[in-house]
Subunit: 373 residues, 2 copies
């Protein structure tokens, strides 16, 4: 991942002289003194406003990574519906399936469209086959490989259309990378607690650029009360997955959110989307199969044939495709260097052979193989 | 906790300019480039030597905290024995009981002795009542509140005495704080993979003094193969609890282990034990009930009556007792300031009233109430 590293390190690096540890519930004062819980709560309030939930109605914490957010959200869902079935699209992050195994939950994988979005026709069929049990659904706000955004409204419609009333389903939104970008994208469907969702998580070290892995998890207060138990020696409450939590991360997040503000993020998101479109268009112009989901800055394209090239550019690959996640630190100049190198190398890879067909991965209209171009 | 902060920050603080992220399995090269896996493996090798397991026979990783180590160790145990019962003493860390709930495991709480150690008579009775199912045991190498070290050899004897052969039990050693100190304590029972144990975890931010929460988890290679699944887009394997992991922590740990070495740690452990004895003796000399387990640097004593005093000294309290964990950064001078302040304040707390009896918590011989002194 091309991270977004432009902190004011002069001041913030000094923080490393202190061991800062957030233990237990961020909203309950505990007896451990060197913490950053005021910053943590400040960051959580910011996200609560973004996702439209009142201060007294939410609970949350700053996690160690996106996986912890998913583990927490799905655990809350299971505690709300102990016999619920977990539904998640095949292109969900692997931590979702890990959670199902850890928590001993029945898990139903739902098919995806070519775009990577959940296929709500298949979702409907699988819901109807399991009407007897409540549904716990992982909704992807940007899948890992294709950056596909599941249609939250259609997921809710499908549930209600299959006879699942609001007290019979729980939705966790995995916003890993894109949960923080989407609010700034025009026409994007809104992630909001005004809709019947139970929790949302995002990563803090991707788009926000926090230099240590971290994430934000927000859920409804009513749900977390069922989950938590009191820990006397901490004078706190145990509602988190992890115990000790990195105390520097909330300070970095708080600083960035306040320095950039909504407008700063909106500008960066626009830049990412613009540059992603540029990359996709240039790939296609060079005769290389490529796809870019409308709401995403993740460009999916034909997997480069040379593993050295893949390693040098740190491309994440799956089957016949690779992807580039265009973050604020990725400039047009950098994309041009990448494109030139790819095009130059590629001309040597396919002298005697044809480039592969990747229509099954990105659709016929995006494929540039001899058959589809 | 009085942490042990004496890194060479001049050089190491520079690391904060880089976003370092360890994804997936530390022993498998992945496609994400900015990592510190060489350091991670170096640290793991150090602990593998300490706990006597061959390089090719172990698997492990650097966790985000002690809780993650327990969550991992107990999950490995459950995957080895899916219908196993989890046994843990009442004074085990709360993350152990959280794991049982998360993983939907049957959990049997075992009584403790006054010292805080597991009561193997009660353990025996509970094992015999559940002979039909394999046993997964959490053994405490230093409990959270009293610093009590469960007798690993007696636990193994009890298991074998109850007819549990080695293919019917799994032992996870929670070494949170003391797992790293005990190897340097004379007469301490040894934690070693030459004994039939399955996993050991320790915290890295306590005795080692890493400035961000972290821990080390080591298990047997044969066990982790059952747990893991491959993650193609990372070109790695998913055998950890968390996804992205802090890449700075392994560098800090590696640096400290190499700079201090075995001899450095041995000296610091001796200092901690000496100072803990000093604190306990001074408390008793001042007529204050206090206990110190033989293998521990955790001094347990009468809970101060004034909550301001508790907060100012950040004392962790449970019921009628409080504790001080004597770490290398705690000097005799600091202990004297604490003792003087406690004795001065306490004389005002008990002018008209008698100090409470805490014999039930720390034993008659350690209590200093009017009845027992």
């Amino acid at each position: 991942y091309p991270y977004n590293l432009d902190f004011d390190y002069g001041a913030l690096a000094q923080l490393q002289h202190f061991s800062i540890n957030n233990l237990g519930d961020p909203f309950i004062e505990s007896n451990y003194g060197v913490h950053s819980r005021q910053f943590e709560v400040g960051v959580l309030d910011w996200f609560a406003r973004l996702w439209e939930i009142e201060k007294n109605d939410y609970w949350g914490y700053i996690t160690n990574c996106g996986t912890e957010g998913n583990l927490h959200g799905i655990l809350v869902g299971r505690e709300v519906f102990p016999d619920g079935i977990l539904y998640a699209s095949r292109e969900s992050h692997y931590s979702v399936f890990k959670a199902a195994r850890m928590y001993r939950m029945e898990c139903v994988k739902v098919d995806t469209l070519i775009s990577g979005e959940i296929d709500c026709a298949d979702f409907r069929a699988k819901l109807l086959a399991n009407k007897g049990k409540p549904a716990i659904i992982n909704v992807n706000i940007g899948t890992t490989v294709k950056g596909a955004v599941d249609d939250l409204d259609l997921v809710i419609q499908t549930l209600e259309g299959c006879g699942f009333s609001r007290d019979r389903f729980y939705i966790h939104c995995d916003g890993a990378l894109f949960g923080l970008m989407m609010p700034f994208v025009k026409r994007a469907p809104k992630v909001s607690f005004k809709k019947p969702i139970g929790s949302v998580s995002v990563s803090g070290h991707k788009f926000v650029g926090c230099p240590m892995p971290c994430g934000v998890q927000i859920t409804r207060m009513e749900h977390v009360n069922a989950l938590s138990s009191n820990v006397e020696y901490l004078a706190s409450r145990d509602a988190t997955i992890m115990g000790s939590r990195n105390g520097h991360a909330p300070i970095f997040l708080w600083y960035t959110l306040n320095r950039k503000g909504y407008n700063g993020f909106a500008k960066e998101v626009q830049k990412c989307l613009r540059n992603a479109h540029y990359l996709k268009d240039q790939l296609r112009a060079a005769g290389i199969g490529a796809m870019l989901n409308e709401l995403s800055s993740t460009v999916v394209f034909e997997r480069p044939r040379d593993e050295d090239f893949v390693r040098r550019w740190q491309l994440a690959c799956e089957g016949n495709i690779a992807h580039v996640v265009v973050m604020p630190s990725v400039s047009i100049e950098k994309l041009d260097v990448f494109l030139n190198e790819l095009v130059k190398n590629r001309s040597t890879w396919y002298q005697e052979q044809q480039p592969p067909c990747i229509a099954a991965d990105i659709g016929k209209e995006n494929c540039a193989c001899p058959l589809h171009k």
